[in-house]
Amino acid sequence: MRAFRVVVIGGGATGIGILRDLSMRGVTAVLLEQGGLAYGTSSRFHGLLHSGARYAVSDVEAARECIEENAVLRRIGRHCVEKSEGLFVLTAEDDEAYVRPWLEACAEAGITTEAVAPDEARRLEPALSPEIRQVFRVPDGGIDGFRLVWHNAMSARRHGGQVRTCHKVTGIESANGRVTAVEVCDTLKKETYRLACEYVVNAAGPWSGEIARMAGQTVDITPDRGTLLAFNHRFTSHIVNRLHESADGDIFVPHGSITILGTTSARAKNPADTTPAPEEVLRLLSLGEPLFPAVREYRILRAFAGNRPLYTPPDHDAGRSASRNFVIVDHEKDGLAGFVSIFGGKLTTYRLMAEKMTDLVCGRLGVATPCRTAEVPLAEQPSEEMLARAARRLPAHRTQLVAERLGDQFADIVGGLEKSGGSDLLCECELVTRAEVELAAGDEATHFLHDIRFRTRLGMGTCQGSYCSLRAMGALTEIGAPFAADAQAALRLFLQERWRGLRPVMWGAQVQEIELGRAIYGSTLNLNGGDDETD
């Protein structure tokens, strides 16, 4: 007996988008993710909802896809999109000759550009360099990858889709040139089992090569590593791009309370190679200076890296020249029916990628229901009544924040707050309440503090988890959250991951912050279990 017709591998934007689309079309489907939701590239990216202007000159087709999907996401994903505009800035170091072809290419792709006088741009963004020469406004936006993935997951579930996290695919079985089942390991229970299905969708991002190999197939992808810097505050409220041929370190994206500078591009050792190096950090800082001359004075919260699942057919180079377009491979042509892979593309185009992939699978399964993901919002807007009820429990300025974070679970939180309270802040840097932490902890896809972090931003602010992780563990132990059983181990895991991003940026105020954290956990709480000194 088959419980599901389709198995989707990979809980990033692409996979979860496909799960939602399949579920909305009435196809029974389950998504398997080796870690937690958005543990892959979809949380290790720049957060830019591309207007396409960056690709206009090099790849007009990719640019067109971006601007179209940009408009769609503003419509269906209002909770996840930050409507900051983008500025393309010709700095003292950029070639003026690039401006005309860029403007023409944008026009061709359907991307509106509007000239802004440099003085006006500096009034809008006082931190910009006084030496900027030309500025254009484009419809770039910000997008929250964590939230996007989670809201897709909640929507998929409402339509019957299932999400299994901490489920690592270990094999793909076939008979007579057809996929029959997937072998999967529940890494928490340490149990391996088979899931019979008709179709397997490989949406494992930079890992999709490995998944294909399990099925005896190959796909042409190269994991391409990009490093990013998150700064402690929002020194720009516009997305600021350098107006030149795409290169490293040329975009600043304001993202909630922080600003992100990126990226680099280099071949990754493997898909999990995401530990940034101090040299990359220093390089990014100097690359950022032509736009924001004071960039070295701003405090870096952390560095992080992600791997692009870049499509590199044999005759192509990897890196910046590789296509940003997405690719769907139907492995039936290579002798394995029921196995399809999707990779490349961008987070901005995740929905379109999902639509195309779901069209293909539905066609094969004989399902004629059309795609509706471009029309149906990921989450409902909260009602006035609900907002008013929330405002009685939460400070006014925080109500909207919570509503956006939680999407369709907003009503649950309001109900919870009314019943049992919990409006006290566990994470003060990112304003996360106890009620939100408890709600996130109760989700069946939550197994670690990280999942709560992605869901709520707990631990993502100035202190990088030093205070809130302890408080959260306390609250979770109290309500008996399953993973809180070994609170010490859970805490250590969380802090180590936080510190992984701090190690490459140990200077200035950040090093003081780290020392404080070390003192709290290493000395006061003796988390590492050092011996009693009096012995």
């Binding site: 931190a127 402690n232 505050h233 929002r234 020194f235 409220s237 909630g256 309370s257 922080i258 004071a294 004075e297 701003y298 405090r299 400070p395 006014a396 300025h397 924040l401 003060e428 840097c429 304003l431 602010g461 100035t462 202190c463 030093s466 205070y467 105020a509 003081q512 912050e513 404080l516």
Partner: protein, 405 residues
Amino acid sequence: MTDIAQPDRCIVCTTCTVMCPVAKNCLDFLGPRMIGPAHQRFRLLGMGEDESLHYCSNCKNCDISCPCDVPVSTFIMRARAEASREKPPKFRDWILAHGELLACWLRFIPAVFKNFGMGFAPVRLLLHALGIARQAPLPAFAAQTFRRKFKSLSQPQNLPRQVVLFPGCFVDIYEPESGLDIVAVLNRAGYEAITPEGFVCCGLPLVANGFWQNARQNARRNLEELARWTDRGLPVLTACPSCALMFGKDYAEYFPDLLPRNLSPVLVDVCEFLTGCMERGELSAPDVAPGAATTGDDHILYHAPCHLRALGAGLPGLELLRLIPGLRAEYADSGCCGISGSYGFKKDKYAIGMRVGSALFSAMRQSDAKLCASECGTCRVQMRHGGGKQTLHPVSILRRWLDGK
């Protein structure tokens, strides 16, 4: 050039919140770290203010305690200024912020009526209705301001040196005697005092109550006036630590564009100046006052105003008292008195202020000292109110000893 609006220096150690007297005594207040640098990150995102912003008393214990030199109270005062643009402060706050202006208007009313007015029950009821606590020790307007009294004062002829005195509003409006004490002691040290008409209120009460633009105008006038005197090489003294803090530190953080060459304009603490006079031999320490030992007046309990500590230049008032032979000056070391300018007068803040000051009040009660001292005028008001003991400016005490009283 680091922008003052950046929250980056804060390492979230929460020391400021632990040291904030208001946070300790009012659970509704989120505290300095949250309302200051933490919320700053969300202000940059366009998020509205936390409702508890108004609880901050601007006592600046957060700034004093921060190990990272974060301008915590400046974040808060700037936020209050922004919030006041959208929602203008209450009339009550206007009254409390504009003491100088009120005094100016009241000049034409005979003193008996003024004093009668402030202590008069129906008036207090009216003020209470406006939001000024009925129990609060609102000081009475003096019959004549210090500046008017000063004009008719004849200082000794042929004094060899000159100094400028910035009295501060409190001394000017409510306690001119303290000002006269200072002039008398300066004269004795060989200084003729000048109190120019050009100076106005330093603006600190305006900032604390959300009148940012008025404060800015005052800052501009004061800086111009200050330059006139310092250009002539004359030191400008003040008896009020809050005025000294506003000039020496806050102007630079609030209105950096008004400062010439980023230089901090300095008002010299009058106690520090007089200590110098003694060291230079311009002023000889008084003899032991006759009879003091038997009446118990030889023991003084000294309270250091928060704004004096925020200046970070020691405790010159206490030092001065300790230079008086035969006088035992004890340091109360009990934190904030709770008044913070006009904060403790407000109906919704009075109880908080009294709780904040309770440690000092009990120190005053437990001490053998009959007389207390503090440089700040409103601290003195609050100390008399909460601690029940006479409290004077250290220079007033010095004068009594010099005069053998």
